[in-house]
Every structure is written in structure tokens, then in C-alpha cells.
């Protein structure tokens, strides 16, 4: 009867908790409580079962050979270890998560590049009191007055004044 087989990888719950975003916190809490319950159940079971005192039973039981037979069969018994069906599924999930995470990181980097570009534009622009209207239209294209659509002053709908 073997004891602990697979060595458990220590999970640092504190660091894990830090990385959880706020909208996934309930799921994280559920996972933690489940894991704690499972771990508590494990620690409540002793590792080896109670040893059977064969000599006492041999002396006590009158039936001839019964205890011996029990003892022989007991010692010969191999308890099968439970089959692990989930680890492969988990590994598949992990691979998929890695893929989607890589995609997300790519998209995030693209977003960062775009933000940095705009930030540079703001950092490098000339100060407002040295700008002319043309400079303003170049830096912020949305301020350009459409003189074709609204040919008469003020070149924008009255409502937007």
C-alpha cells in the first residue's frame, strides 16, 4: 500500500490572488474554498490504514485456517490506484489558455504601441500659445473647419458654436 505518490506543486495563493482581476474574484474564491476543502479532507485521512493484529485473531478465532486464509488474501490484495482522467483535459485547457493569452498579449502590445504613439504626439507638439490655427488643425484634425460643406461663416452648424 503506497503512500503519497505524486508530489504536489506548491501553489502560492497570495501571489495568485494578486493576479486575479476584480471581475473574476468570485470564481477565484470558489476555487480556493474548493481546494481548501479537498486538502482538508486529505489531511483528515491517515496515510496508512490501521494495522490488523493477525496473531491475536489467530489465537482468538476458533475456525481453523480462516484467519490464515484471510491473512494470505489480505496480503496478496492489490488495491488499484484511481485512474486519472482529468489531467489531460487540464493540460489541453492550459495549452488553449496559453494560446489565447498570447493573442491577448499581442493585442495588448498593439494597443500600447498606439497609446504611446498618441502620447508622443502630445508630448512633442508645440505649446498652444505658439500655435496658429493651421498648426491647430494639423495637430487636431477634428478642429479643421469644413469650408466646402459649410461655405459661409462660421463654417459649422450653429448648434456646435
Amino acid at each position: 500500500m503506497a503512500g503519497r505518490r505524486v508530489a504536489l506543486k506548491a501553489v502560492d495563493w497570495l501571489a495568485f490572488a494578486e493576479r486575479v482581476p476584480a471581475n473574476q474574484r468570485p470564481m477565484f474564491n470558489a476555487l480556493k474554498t474548493r481546494s481548501d476543502a479537498i486538502g482538508a479532507k486529505l489531511t483528515s485521512l491517515p496515510e496508512t490504514p490501521t494495522v490488523i493484529d493477525w496473531s491475536y485473531y489467530k489465537s482468538a478465532v476458533a475456525k481453523a485456517g480462516m484467519v490464515d486464509e484471510f491473512e494470505k488474501q489480505f496480503k496478496a490484495l492489490q488495491i488499484p490506484e484511481p485512474v486519472d482522467t482529468q489531467t489531460s483535459a487540464i493540460n489541453a485547457q492550459e495549452a488553449e489558455a496559453n494560446k489565447s493569452a498570447a493573442e491577448y498579449v499581442e493585442a495588448s502590445k498593439a494597443r500600447i504601441a498606439q497609446y504611446e504613439k498618441e502620447l508622443d504626439k502630445f508630448k512633442n507638439m508645440i505649446p498652444f500659445d505658439q500655435m496658429t490655427i493651421e498648426d491647430l488643425n494639423d495637430t487636431f484634425p477634428e478642429t479643421k473647419l469644413d469650408k466646402v460643406k459649410h461655405p459661409y461663416w462660421p463654417h459649422k452648424p450653429i448648434a456646435e458654436l
Binding site: 504536489l8 494578486e18 481546494s35 486529505l42 495588448s108 500600447i112 502620447l119 498652444f128
Partner: protein, 251 residues
Amino acid sequence: MLSRLVLVSASSLKGSGPLGAGLVQASRSLQTSSQSLAPVPPLPEKGGKVRHGIFPEELFQLLYPKTGVTGPYMLGTGLLLYMLSKEIYVINHETFAALSVGSVIVYGVKKFGPDVAAFADKLNEEKVAKAQEVKDLAVTSLAQAIDDEKKEQWRVEGRSMLFDAKRNNVAVLLETNYRERLHMVTHEVKRRLDYQIALQHLHTRMEQEHMVNWVEKSVIGSLTAEQEKASIAKCISDLTVLSKSQAHATA
């Protein structure tokens, strides 16, 4: 030269405000037409220095080496007297109109000029402040967005922990199951052996009780009539002896 004169006339208004922008447009259009792409230097804060509101300081500086401090004044006086005496400038009613209107204008500008300039400056300041606010907001929000994205990337790196936790759970469940099986086996075997022992004890106890009952019954059955009579006679004789000894004791 033309732009210089325009600057001079605007110098009594101390702010450079909207007028200044128009001036720079004039000078800017000159620059754009010559196709130079260097950014235009910022506007000067004040217009060129003038004396008595009209005459540029450069004239006085120009004449200072040759004629000293009073030179330009002498030049001015001489020119004025020449024009009056030679009737190049004729004094007529237009002169007085010009003098009156001019003095009113000068008085008005001197009195209300600074206020008007401040008001115009304030308008411009508000526009610039609004634009600056927009810019600052944009910069802070962009920086914040970049930080948030970096944070999200850091969070994503922790995804392996989730799967470690899941695998741990699976392993622990398997281990628990295995232990439960072990315990169940030993428990069941022990139960059966204990049952056998209990059964044996029950047998011996029942045999004992049965035997005791049987012995009692047989003893009582074997008590014959004459044995009973003999035992009763014995009891009576014992009692008489006892009573005699009691009577002797009390007497």
C-alpha cells in the same frame, strides 16, 4: 517696415492677444510663401519700444552717436517748424478736428486700454487653458491606459497558477480516493474477523447459560422425596436445638 508700423500702433494696447495673432498671420503668410518649413518663433511679448507713443526707439539710438540725447528732438522740432513755415503742412479747420479727435482717442486708449487688453488676454487665456486641459487629460488617460495594459499583461502571466491549482486538486482527490479504498479494505476485513470472534463469544456464552440451567434443573429434579423429608427433619431438629439454647440463654 509696414509690419513694424502696425506693431507700433498696437503697442499702446499692452497685450499682444488677437491682434498679435493677426500680425503673425501676416508675417506667417510671408514665410509660407517663401516655403520655409522651420517652426515660427514665438511672438514677442511686447511690441517694439517707442517714445511718446509713436516714434520708434531705434531712431533715437540711431542718432545718439552723432547728436546725443537731444538730437532727435531737434530734428523733430526743425522738421515741424519747416513744414509749418513753408506751408508744406497748412493749418486749417481739419487740423483742429484732427487734434480734438486725436486727443480724445489718446485719452480713451490711455484710460481704457489696459482693461480692454486684459479682457482680450483673458479670452485668449481661457481658450488656451481649455485646450491645455484637454491635452493634460488626454496625456494622463493615455499614461493610465498604458499602465493598465501592462498590468493586464502581468496578470495574464499568472495563468499557469490556475492550472497548477487544478492539477493539485485532481491529484489530491485521487490520493484521497486511494486512501479511502485502503481504509475500506482493512475496515471490512477487520469487521469480518471481529464478527467471527463475536460469534464465538456468543456461542460460548449461550452454551454456558444452557449448561447452568440444565445443571440446576437436573439438581432440582434429582432431589427425591426421602431426601426432602430427611432435610426437613434435620432442619426441625436444628431449630429445636437452637431454641433450647436460646431458652437457656434467656433463662
